[in-house]
Amino acid sequence: MNKMKELWKRVTGFSLLFPLVCLVIVLVVNLIKTPDFFKISMNNGVLYGYVIDILNRSSELIILAVGMTLVVAASGGTDISVGAVSAVAGAVCIYSLIGGASSSVYRIPYVLAIVLGILAGTACGAFNGFLVAKLHIQPMVATLILFTAGRGMAQVLTQGFILYVRKESFKFLGNFLPGVPIPTPIFIATIVVVLTFLILKKTSLGLYIQSVGVNRKASRLVGLNSSLIIFLAYVFSGFCAGIAGMIITSRVYSIDANNAGLNIELDAILAVAIGGNSLGGGKFSLAGSVIGAITIQALTTSLYAMKVTADQLPVYKAVVVIIIVALQSPIVKRWMKNIKQKLASSRNGKKVEA
């Protein structure tokens, strides 16, 4: 009983409750509108269904949101370059794999190309980290550089063409592994989340990041290397963008430098916010961001399921997002607290009477 209470306190304490409620609401609305929403079927040896689709499609977003969470927590700023960086990573991977034209022959081993792609993403992250942590440039401005220049760099590699990899094995990462019924991205996202969680848990990095995010000066005096920690957060975000880039390119077995990961950075930032994290830095919850990412994808998928067209989609999404974010604002929270207090006191009053 006490344990439950403690658990409940923890959940409500970090307002994980709220993101969860959002997700549940989105799902319930779906269930009403689309009765077969939760149906999962087996077709050609793989699983199909809206739920699988949501989890599958949200994978990149989850991975990016994990990196974004740490960036926000440590520096109180956002990394708006992650979409462009994932395009860079994808371009590096495919270019090193097949060269500057669509092809079905690998020049180097597939695994090596993936490593190169992820390295490219990580290097971009290091660049951002250097600007923010060492040169003290505003995160938004610092990452704006790669936000605009990143796609250009990818274009240089692809020379403006969409490069296709016509080989079955290239599709594994973004679709299905032979004989496995669950989409591969779900595994990758799970691995990234679990690994990050373990690293934060098994080292004191999580505490350091929060400390630096809350008070950089005080953190320095207690012996933390604030710059290094912020730098690492950006490096990690670039690393995550690299992995996301691998999934994105594999899904469509091609790289389109103009459109790969377009606008996904906004969804990633939103995921962090919906997850109950303060965009001002400091305390964070990875689980919250993951739930946030799934919520956003669930919203997108369900709007499609309700036959909203792609060009109308942003409007509906915006409305829902406004509601979610407004509900978390301190002012609304205070109203809710007041209401709760009034309820509690009237209950207490009754007890006294009885």
């Binding site: 080292t203 350091y208 929060q210 809350v214 320095r220 207690v222 012996g223 933390l224």
Partner: protein, 511 residues
């Protein structure tokens, strides 16, 4: 006397609960026009909360507030609203804008205008004058963050004094001021009092209360103990009312008469040779022996904190050498100092001390964790033990070890940071105003702790604006003037008058 004036401000049955804490229960408070009214109580008694409720920073649950001239109960929803009806406040934690200039901070929200635009010239001139009244001569166009906590406090006071029209509230305004500045402040307060303004004054310094206050209201654990006339309440009784029990004479704290000869023979822990940091402290020599408590004294801006910062590497020294336990030490960052066995409690609690969103537990263990490195995680169980140990030792008043430290009262936050550094068990401990904002009872406890530490062979560098306190704990006092170390006093030379002379520039002999 003006004391018999009718009430200016009346607060009745004020109640305020925070999760897990009843901060105020059914408190009454009355302020009359033209009086200075002390609000006293231990750390966490509810003084700041009462003020925050009055000025609209916090919402009260029940209670009524009346202000003279307004015929219905007032409710302030924000400090701006309070200001608009004539109540101005200096909060315990300075909340000005460090990036704005001093003048902007004083006039923010009420800038003098000329042809619809901000009249910078007038603003700067008026600000200078206001500060000059408080004896502060500084360039008001410089950003506030360029100045020490004490000056920042004076700026906040200047702003509030200038705004106040009926009620002026000062929540521990003197905590980092030295005697001269306190005197100046008192002059200004007396002037305001004569013009009929009521002043609420929160402080932990008894002698200040007896010097300037007409009445005293005492709070204990969120409850009203009573209202008294200062003249009729001896200070011993006042302390008893505050802590709720009889006490041994707190003033008598025996310093182990540390044998000077003996000390000099002991190992040298700190040996600074021409150490300096351009712009903050001129090169200085300083030798500290094992087990010594050495004090730093000097006026505001004399460089006492800056000297300490150079040793710890908070400002990386760019001149001279530092030997720590007879080994040359290259300090690039505070972490180097921490790892070699130093600890540094900074002066500015809010900006450099507390990590406000982290819990009390995390705030206590963070320095030890940083020292151990990120792969040697202190287990949750150990963390809880450490936290509980210091909550107990320093009597930190908190509803749980897991609440964010920002929810603690000012004095209790200070204790948390002190605990943080004691936990690292340093060989050399720098304490810059360690008892700032700490109540009388606990202050003695902390001074005792410092002495006990030195008996255990630890070395301490102690900075305080209170000369009394310095005399109580220090074996030796180094005096600074104009960012230079000018002399050292020890043994028989340690007396209030000698120190004052040295600070002011008298001719005490240099070492």
């Amino acid at each position: 006397m003006m004391n018999e004036n009718k009430p200016l401000l009346t607060m009745r049955h004020i109640t305020k609960t925070f999760p897990g804490v009843k901060a105020l229960s059914n408190v009454d408070f009355t302020l009359r026009a033209g009086e200075i009214h002390a609000l006293m109580g231990e750390n966490g008694a509810g003084k700041s909360t009462l003020i925050k409720v009055l000025t609209g920073v916090e919402e009260m649950e029940t209670g009524e507030i009346y202000l003279e001239g307004i015929d219905h109960p007032i409710i302030n929803r924000s400090p701006q609203e309070a200001q608009a009806i004539g109540i101005s406040t200096v909060y315990q934690e300075i909340n000005l804008c460090p990036n704005l200039s001093v003048a902007e901070n004083i006039y923010i929200g009420r800038e003098p205008k000329k042809f619809g635009r901000i009249d910078w010239k007038t603003m700067n001139k008026k600000s200078s004058e206001l500060l000059k009244n408080l004896n502060i001569m500084i360039d008001v166009t410089k950003p506030l963050s360029n100045f020490s906590v004490a000056i920042q406090q004076m700026v906040a006071i200047a702003r509030a004094v200038d705004i106040s029209s009926k009620v002026l509230i000062l929540d521990e305004p003197t905590s980092s001021l030295d005697e001269q500045e306190v005197e100046k402040l008192f002059l200004v307060m007396r002037k305001l009092k004569e013009s009929g303004i009521g002043i609420i004054f929160v402080t932990h310094f008894l002698e200040q209360v007896y010097k300037i206050c007409d009445r005293i209201t005492v709070l204990r654990n969120g409850c009203l103990v009573g209202e008294y006339e200062t003249e009729k309440l001896p200070s011993v009784e006042l302390v008893e009312l505050m802590i709720g029990k009889e006490i041994e004479d707190l003033a008598k704290l025996s310093k182990e008469e540390n044998d000077e000869e003996n000390n000099e023979k002991k190992e040298i822990v700190i040996d600074a040779k021409g150490l300096g940091h351009t712009g903050t402290i001129h090169p200085f020599d300083l030798k500290i022996h094992k087990g010594e408590v050495i004090g730093l004294s000097g006026l505001l801006g004399s460089g006492r904190s800056e000297l300490a910062r150079a040793i710890y590497g908070a400002d990386k020294p760019d001149q001279g050498e530092l030997y720590f336990k007879e080994k040359k030490l290259q300090i690039n960052t505070p972490l180097d100092a921490l790892k070699s066995g130093m600890a540094y409690l900074p002066e500015n609690r809010k900006e450099e001390g507390i990590i406000e969103d982290l819990s009390v537990r995390e705030n206590i263990i963070i320095a030890l964790q940083a020292r151990r490195g990120m792969f040697k995680v202190i287990s949750r169980k150990e963390q809880e033990e450490f936290a509980d140990k210091f909550i107990d030792l320093l009597q930190i008043k908190t509803s749980s070890r897991d609440v964010p430290v920002k929810q603690l009262s000012g004095g209790n936050q200070q204790k948390v940071i002190l605990g943080r550094w004691l936990l690292t068990n340093p060989d050399f401990l720098i304490l810059d105003e360690p008892t700032r904002g700490i109540d009388v009872g606990t202050k003695t406890e902390i001074q005792k702790l410092v002495l006990k530490f030195s008996e255990e062979g630890k070395t301490i560098l102690f900075i305080s604006s209170e000369i009394d306190e310095m005399l109580r704990v220090c074996n030796k006092i180094a005096v600074l003037r104009d960012r230079k170390k000018v002399s050292e006093l020890k043994g028989d030379q340690l007396s209030q008058s000698n120190i004052m002379k040295a600070i002011a520039g008298g001719d005490t002999k240099d070492e």
